[in-house]
């Protein structure tokens, strides 16, 4: 679906979208995702460490290494959640740069803001509650946009990618860090077992919420795999689009430029 088409012009089946393995009305998904993150916000960081055994920190480091960020850059950390990427970007861009931590979910944004302020990260960071599909920024604003573990929760991914393309400066780059499809079949099966059997149990134990982590596992399976996402980025105008599998493809970093 192109970004210009309205929902009214779509056939009935395109009025729905997936929420994990369920088909739901497109208008409902935003609120359903909001409920998930409202529920997990407080335990988000500890759950990330537990679920990935801390490796998510290295995936995020790799994203920053590939961002080409330097002092003076303007960075949008979209679906930035609790601000892991923002913290590092803020120190690197310095006083002459700026980082905007944006998230659709106010609970996540509040946790992120409190965490960063407690760490003394203030001055060059702004917090914006924003929908990735309709970013409230002028055209050609950012040198770098990152969206880490957020795109799969967006209802209309094409529209979100187009919106990111619009607000990116010419010469700027988008980095999408997201769960993907393991390249090895054995790893894929192990990963499946872990995701659908162990993950909800950890969620129940630590965050007292098995359903949200069941959704997490399902949403990962429903997310477009590496080549498909690369094609989606190219369709909205990104150039020199590449991806790099991390930890056997459990996660992939897609990178595209706007020229």
């Amino acid at each position: 679906m192109s970004a210009s088409e309205t929902p009214e012009s779509q056939p009935q089946q395109e009025q729905t979208t997936h929420f994990g393995f369920k088909q739901v009305d497109k208008n409902q998904k935003v609120n359903m995702v909001k409920d998930v993150f409202q529920s997990v916000a407080a335990k988000y960081d500890i759950m990330n460490d537990l679920m990935s055994l801390g490796i998510h920190r290295l995936w995020k480091r790799y994203t920053i290494d590939c961002s080409g960020v330097r002092a003076g850059h303007k960075v949008l950390d979209l679906a930035g959640g609790t601000g892991d990427l923002t913290a590092k970007f803020s120190r690197i861009v310095g006083e002459s740069g700026q980082v905007i931590l944006a998230d659709i979910n106010d609970a996540m944004l509040k946790v992120g803001r409190d965490k960063l302020r407690d760490k003394g990260i203030v001055g060059n960071v702004e917090y914006v509650q924003a929908n990735a599909e309709e970013l409230p920024f002028p055209d050609n604003t950012f040198d770098i946009i990152t969206i880490a573990f957020g795109l799969r929760n967006v209802t209309d991914k094409d529209k979100a990618l187009a919106s990111m393309y619009r607000v990116l400066k010419p010469g700027g780059r988008l980095l999408v860090l997201e769960f993907s499809k393991p390249s090895n079949e054995i790893l894929n099966k192990v990963y499946d077992t872990y995701s659908f059997h162990l993950l909800p149990k950890i969620g129940q134990l630590v965050a007292n919420d098995a359903d949200s982590y069941q959704y997490l596992a399902e949403s990962i399976r429903m997310h477009p795999e590496q080549e498909v996402l690369k094609g989606m980025m190219e369709n909205v105008g990104f150039e020199q689009t590449t991806y790099h599998n991390l930890t056997g493809g459990i996660v992939a970093l897609h990178r595209g430029f706007k020229f």
Binding site: I55, R57, L58, W59, R61, Y62, I64, D65, C66, G68, R70, A71, K88, R91, I92, G94, E95, S96, G120, L246, T247
Partner: protein
């Protein structure tokens, strides 16, 4: 697992932990705030980028030259790395072509000083966990132990040297060595003089033989 990021994560953690142990380091770090230093050690597979703010962030520097705009870039071999501790040596290392530096030398010098001037009170650090009394006693005992060990080591070395210099030993004193060297030098001079004398005699004998030959043929 992304190994390079694991390495930079470890370096970053270690550097910042060490800096926190010296309360004065923050003031020195502030001089570098907003600056960046890229270090390429030839033996390592990835160049490192150090960004300075209220802490040091360590990243893998991109291979793309457009992405790596650091205030200062240094390239060196692993063996030269420890010499960077002394910032006054930087110019000398550049002249000796052991260090390639592009950009602002001040960044490299300040970083070098920052690390060299670290003054960590280890006793105080231990006291945070064990209390002042235990920390003080531990350090006093350790210092005494070190002193004793050093003294014993020096004495053993002295005794060993003395034993080696005894009449039946395999070693000689420094004076004996000097005398032996002088004897060798004398012998060399005598030999050279003798060789010169033999050469002169041979030359004289050859000239006389030639003269006799000439006379015989004239008759």
């Amino acid at each position: 697992m992304p190994l390079p990021q694991l390495v930079t994560s470890g370096i970053e953690l270690a550097l910042n932990k060490v800096l926190l142990l010296d309360p004065d380091s923050q003031g020195r770090l502030r001089k570098l705030s907003g600056r960046s230093l890229q270090v390429k050690v030839n033996e390592l597979p990835w160049p490192l980028m150090f960004s300075f703010s209220s802490q040091i962030d360590v990243r893998i520097a991109s291979q793309d030259p457009q992405d790596t705009i650091a205030d200062c870039l240094i390239e060196l071999n692993l063996e030269t790395l420890p010499k960077l501790k002394d910032s006054s040596q930087l110019t000398q290392l550049i002249q000796q072509k052991k260090l390639n530096l592009i950009g602002d030398i001040y960044v490299a010098q300040t970083f070098s000083s920052l690390m060299k001037d670290l003054d960590i009170d280890w006793e105080e650090q231990l006291a945070k966990y064990t209390g002042d009394v235990v920390a003080h006693q531990t350090f006093s005992s350790t210092k005494t132990l070190f002193k004793k060990a050093k003294f014993n080591l020096e004495q053993t070395a002295e005794k060993l040297a003395e034993n080696l210099r005894q009449p039946n030993s395999v070693s000689i004193t420094q004076n004996e060595m000097i005398l032996f060297s002088e004897d060798v030098n004398d012998l060399r001079s005598h030999t050279e003089r003798l060789a010169a004398r033999i050469a002169r005699l041979e030359q004289t004998a050859q000239i006389k033989a030639e003269q006799n030959q000439t006379k015989g043929s004239a008759k």
